[in-house]
Structures are given as structure tokens and as C-alpha cells.
């Protein structure tokens, strides 16, 4: 895939560039702030961008703002956001902004190379990838408010959890060591309980769930 990176720590940026090159991706730009990233994308949109949330000048949410702008102007470009902490507001903003090709990972997840590459592949391919920790926090926040999620069985919760991370039914089945038909059954039960339409595609369903959680 064609990838662009925005990360202010030189050390990590170099590491990411090497890692992606080893995996056969083409890194077309590796920059240190949001403006430079947007300029690079404008010059020739890649398949996916990886953006750190905290970047100069103010070290608050420059990366996220750049990510949202890229979502708005180049909807086909996948956006994978790396965040220092679980910022529910940021996650929700990303999800509400649009549908496919979004990812939100904790920055430390980069150290788990397999998971990171997997997430990058999914986001680049128009899927979604959300950090298990983000999902856990969003679910926890909602469970506390006594909403429809509280009606899910523990198993359904596991399925939703895994699904929200962007996994397909097949890989949910593999994750939870259950059959694929069982997964489909759970998924239907979840959507019934959450009043969500069945008409949307896979990653749309995930995002719909997340949007519901993040609202």
C-alpha cells in the first residue's frame, strides 16, 4: 500500500518507515506535523495515512484535526490515528465524521507490530480498526448509563467488542473460538437489541455500533 506518516518523534517516524518498508508498503511521505501531511496528501493521495494526535506546534490535537480534514477532503484515503491516551471525544469525532477507512489506535500499540500492521491493512482496505482499549472504554461508559448495551449477554458483548475493533465475522469466530454461524447469530441478536438496521455493510455496521456508542 501507499502510506504517509505524520509523527513528530523522529525516532518513531524512522522506525515506522523501516517497518513499513520491510513489510513491502511504500512510504510516500514521512513528516512531523499536520500541515505538512495535508500538503503531502494534496500532492497525491495515498491509500492510507498514519497520524499521531499530539504534534507541534501546540501538542494537543493537531494530528486529529489533520485527520478530520483528510477525511473531509479525500474520503477515499484511509486514516489511522495514533493517540497517547484513549480520548473518547476524539474517537467519537472520527467515527461520527464518516464511515469506512478509519482507525484509532493507542500509540503504544505500534510496539505490537502484528496488530499494528493488521490494523493498517484493514484501514487501508476501507475497513475499520479500533483499539480494544478504546472499545472497552466506550462500552464501559455506556454500560454504566443503563442503556440497551446493558441488555447484552457477556458473550454478545465479547462479539461486539471484537467486531468493533474492525474484525470480520470469520476472524471474530477465530478470536473467540466459536463457529462462524454462532457469530452471525450473536451479531443479529446484538443488532436487534441495539435497534440497528441490517441493511448496511460490514464496516458500516461496526461504525454504526461505534457511532452509537460514541454519541
Amino acid at each position: 500500500m501507499r502510506v504517509m506518516l505524520a509523527e513528530d518523534s523522529t525516532l518513531l517516524r524512522e522506525g515506522l518507515v523501516r517497518l513499513l518498508a520491510e513489510e513491502g508498503h511504500r512510504v510516500e511521505a514521512a513528516v512531523g506535523d499536520g500541515d505538512a501531511l495535508i500538503a503531502a496528501v494534496a500532492a497525491g493521495p495515498p491509500d492510507v495515512v498514519v497520524v499521531d494526535v499530539r504534534m507541534p506546534p501546540s501538542h494537543t490535537d493537531e494530528g486529529l484535526r489533520a485527520a478530520l480534514e483528510i477525511r473531509r477532503r479525500w474520503p477515499d484515503v484511509g486514516v489511522l490515528v495514533l493517540s497517547q491516551y484513549v480520548e473518547k471525544r476524539y474517537a467519537a469525532e472520527l467515527i461520527i465524521a464518516d464511515t469506512a477507512g478509519v482507525g484509532y489506535l493507542l500509540k503504544d500499540r505500534v510496539a505490537q507490530v502484528d496488530e499494528f500492521l493488521d490494523a493498517l491493512e484493514r484501514v487501508g482496505g476501507g475497513g475499520a480498526a479500533f483499539d480494544p482499549e478504546v472499545v472497552r472504554r466506550l462500552l464501559a461508559a455506556h454500560g454504566a448509563q443503563g442503556d440497551p448495551l446493558a441488555r447484552l449477554t457477556p458473550r454478545e458483548r465479547d462479539v461486539l467488542d471484537t467486531m468493533a475493533q474492525g474484525h470480520t465475522n470469520a476472524s471474530i469466530a477465530a478470536h473467540l473460538h466459536i463457529s462462524q454461524s454462532a457469530v452471525e447469530k450473536h451479531v443479529n441478536a446484538i443488532f436487534d437489541k441495539l435497534d440497528l438496521s441490517h441493511a448496511t455493510g460490514y464496516s458500516r455496521r461496526v461504525l454504526a455500533v461505534l457511532r452509537y456508542l460514541g454519541s
Binding site: 518523534s9 525516532l11 518513531l12 522506525g15 515506522l16 523501516r18 517497518l19 520491510e22 513489510e23 499530539r54 501538542h59 497517547q84 500509540k107 503504544d108 505500534v110 510496539a111 505490537q112 507490530v113 502484528d114
Partner: protein
């Protein structure tokens, strides 16, 4: 090194100034007596015809305040009394009423002194120059001795009287024109509220800085380390994996070094154990610039003072290394049982901003201990940062 601005006590010059001040005070007391007499008439008049409005007539108020100002100038110039004052016309009048007798007393004592001196001179001239003996008593040795002793005793009493008058002048001014104890407390409480809020701010700033240090340094290194190990695990051939592992090992060393740096910046453990001097020497060792340290503090200052002094030096040295372009830094720490003074001077380009984050934080830290903090950094240098910290 620690500048104090007190009129020097003692010494012939100070005594002469005080005497001149008392003489002037006696003269002004005469003038004030006249004003008070006029004021009494005017006040009585205004009270009788004020139709219930009790007000000091404008002429009296202005005159009283003018004279009070004059007296304060005299106390400042001749008696070294310089304190914050707050007064209105009524307080000024009360002050004048009380100080007139004091001023006149001073005048009387000065007159007695002058009379005594003149008498002594006349006696001496009559005995040894003109031969015109006073009361026809010849200057036999015991007569001379007896009059000399009596003269010295009288002189001593007069001088003591003048010292007493000067003290009374000061205390009357303080009592009538100075802030009341309640105002003093209020002012102190207001100041404490401000410094307390500033301390909280300073603590928050430091925490923010620690968070940034950890995030920008240690955490990034650990993530990079994880990536290296992950890449090594994914690498096909052994040689490549070994190379990546070697890099990962180096990275782990660097992460540890970073962590040590951060913990040191958060709080230098040496401060607790070995004290300020040892901690400052470590600052000098770790600095990119050569740092010369002069340390002259007897014993160990209180812990809070040591910590504040340490951070002042640390921040100032860091600033000098980062921004000033200096070639070297001189640090002087001197102290007594009551005060520690810190002075950091670099030979850089100057232009440091006292309102900048780090320096403002230091100023707040020092203010919280009732100390003073100053930055002098003209364009073109040198930059001198001074702090004075009271001990207990």
C-alpha cells in the same frame, strides 16, 4: 552579595544627620503648632455650623496632609525611617497633635545642649585664656575635674534624650500614619492568597512538564524498542533478526538513560541525602556548559529553601545552555542563618524574558517562600538571575 538598603546606624555622619533632623523637627513643630491652633478654630467653627455634616474643612485637611508629607520626608531623609504609610486628613491631624510636643521636646534638648556647650567654652576661656575666673574660683585640679564630670554626665543625658526623641518620632509616625495591624494582616493575607494560587500553578506546570518529558522521551523510546523487537521477530533470516535485536538492546539502554534523566529532573534524590551543595555539583557535571560554583552556606538550610535554591540554579543553568549562547556560567550561593542568596550569571547574549514559562515558575516558587527573585538580562548580555530566600 545580598544587598540591603538601610541607612547605616551609628557613625558620626548618621549622628549628625539625626541631629539635623531633630533640629528641623523642632522648627516644623513650631509651624505645626500654629497650624493646629488655626485648625482648632476652623474645626470648632465647622462643627458648630456644619448642620450635622462632620467634615474636616478642606484648608485644614490639605494643610495637615502637606505637613504630614513634609514630616515623612524629614524622617526618611534624616532618621532613616521608611515604611509604607496610609492616612487620611484625620490621621494626619492626629499625627501632628501627637508629634508637636515630641518635636518641641527635641528642640528644648538641642537648646540645652547648645547652652551647655556655650557654658563649657566660656568657663574654659575664663580659666585659661583671659584669667577672668567665674565666681572667682581658680581652676584647681579638683574643681576642673568636678565640672568636667558634671559636664560629661549632662552631655550624656542630653544625647540620650535626643536618641529617645528620635525613637518617639518614629513610633508616633508609625502608630498614626502606618497601616493598622488589621490592614497589615489583610495585606499579608492577600499576598498569601496570591502566592498560594501561584504555587498550585507552579506545581501544575511542573507536572505538565514531567508528563511531556515522559511522553516525548521515555515512552517513544519504549515504543521504538517494541517495534524493533517486533521487526526482529518478523524478520525471516537469522542475521537480520540478530542485527535488529542488537539495535533493540541499544535502544533499551537509551530508554533507561532517558528515564534516569527524567527522574533526576523530577526530583534530584541527592538533595535529600547530601544536601544542596552535592545536588548543585551534579547540575554542574550534567550541564553542557562549564559551570563554576561558589558555595558558602553554613550548615544546612531548611529543606524547602534548599529545594527552591536548587531549582532556581537548575533552571537558570538549563536556560543559559539552551538559549543564551553563553560559553560559561557562574553560580554563587551564599548564606547566613536567616537568608540564602543565589546568583547565576552567564556571559551569553541576554534578552531572557522574565515572563517566560520557566522563569515565571521560578519567580512563583521563590515568592511562595517570601523570597525575592530578579532577572536582569539586557540585550547583549550578560544575564544575571538572583534570588534571596529567607530561612525560617
Amino acid at each position: 552579595m545580598i544587598a540591603t538598603f538601610e541607612v547605616p546606624r551609628g557613625g558620626p555622619r548618621a549622628a549628625a544627620r539625626a541631629a539635623a533632623g531633630l533640629l528641623l523637627g523642632a522648627v516644623t513643630a513650631g509651624a505645626e503648632l500654629v497650624l493646629l491652633a488655626v485648625a482648632a478654630v476652623l474645626m470648632a467653627y465647622s462643627m458648630a455650623f456644619s448642620r450635622g455634616r462632620r467634615k474636616v474643612p478642606a484648608a485644614v485637611a490639605d494643610g495637615a496632609e502637606l505637613l504630614a508629607e513634609l514630616e515623612l520626608w524629614r524622617l526618611r531623609a534624616f532618621l532613616g525611617e521608611d515604611r509604607a504609610v496610609r492616612y487620611g486628613p484625620l490621621k494626619a491631624l492626629a499625627y501632628l497633635v501627637l508629634r508637636v510636643p515630641v518635636g518641641l521636646l527635641g528642640g528644648v534638648i538641642l537648646l540645652l545642649l547648645a547652652y551647655g556647650a556655650a557654658a563649657a567654652v566660656r568657663l574654659a576661656v575664663g580659666w585659661w585664656i583671659t584669667g577672668d575666673h567665674m565666681d572667682d574660683i581658680p581652676p584647681t585640679w579638683w574643681i576642673v575635674l568636678y565640672t568636667a564630670v558634671a559636664g560629661v554626665v549632662l552631655l550624656f543625658l542630653a544625647v540620650q534624650g535626643l536618641v529617645g526623641v528620635a525613637a518617639m518620632e518614629r513610633s508616633v509616625a508609625r502608630r498614626c500614619l502606618g497601616p493598622s495591624p488589621l490592614e497589615e494582616y489583610e495585606r499579608r493575607i492577600a499576598q498569601l492568597s496570591v502566592t498560594r494560587a501561584q504555587v498550585v500553578d507552579a506545581v501544575d506546570d511542573e507536572r505538565r512538564r514531567i508528563e511531556r518529558d515522559l511522553h516525548d522521551g521515555v515512552q517513544q523510546r519504549l515504543v521504538a524498542l517494541g517495534m524493533l523487537i517486533g521487526r526482529a521477530r518478523r524478520a525471516g533470516d537469522d542475521e537480520r533478526a540478530a542485527e535488529l535485536l542488537r539495535q533493540a538492546h541499544e535502544e533499551s539502554q537509551r530508554a533507561l538513560a532517558d528515564l534516569r534523566e527524567v527522574t533526576w529532573r523530577v526530583y534530584p534524590a541527592a538533595l535529600d541525602g547530601e544536601g544542596l551543595r552535592a545536588a548543585l555539583e551534579t547540575v554542574a557535571e550534567r550541564s553542557a556548559l562549564p559551570v563554576a560554583i561558589e558555595y558558602d552556606v553554613p550548615g544546612r538550610p531548611p529543606h524547602a529553601v534548599e529545594t527552591a535554591a536548587y531549582f532556581v540554579v537548575c533552571e537558570a543553568v538549563t536556560n543559559a545552555a539552551k538559549h543564551s549562547g553563553a560559553a560559561s556560567v557562574r553560580v554563587a550561593v551564599a548564606g547566613s542563618a536567616t537568608m540564602i542568596g543565589v546568583r547565576i550569571e552567564d556571559d551569553g547574549g541576554g534578552g531572557a524574558d522574565p515572563g517566560g514559562g520557566g522563569l515565571a515558575g521560578l519567580a512563583r516558587r521563590v515568592a511562595a517562600l517570601d523570597g525575592t527573585f530578579a532577572v536582569d538580562s539586557p540585550r547583549g548580555g550578560p544575564t544575571v538571575i538572583t534570588a534571596e530566600l529567607p530561612c525560617g
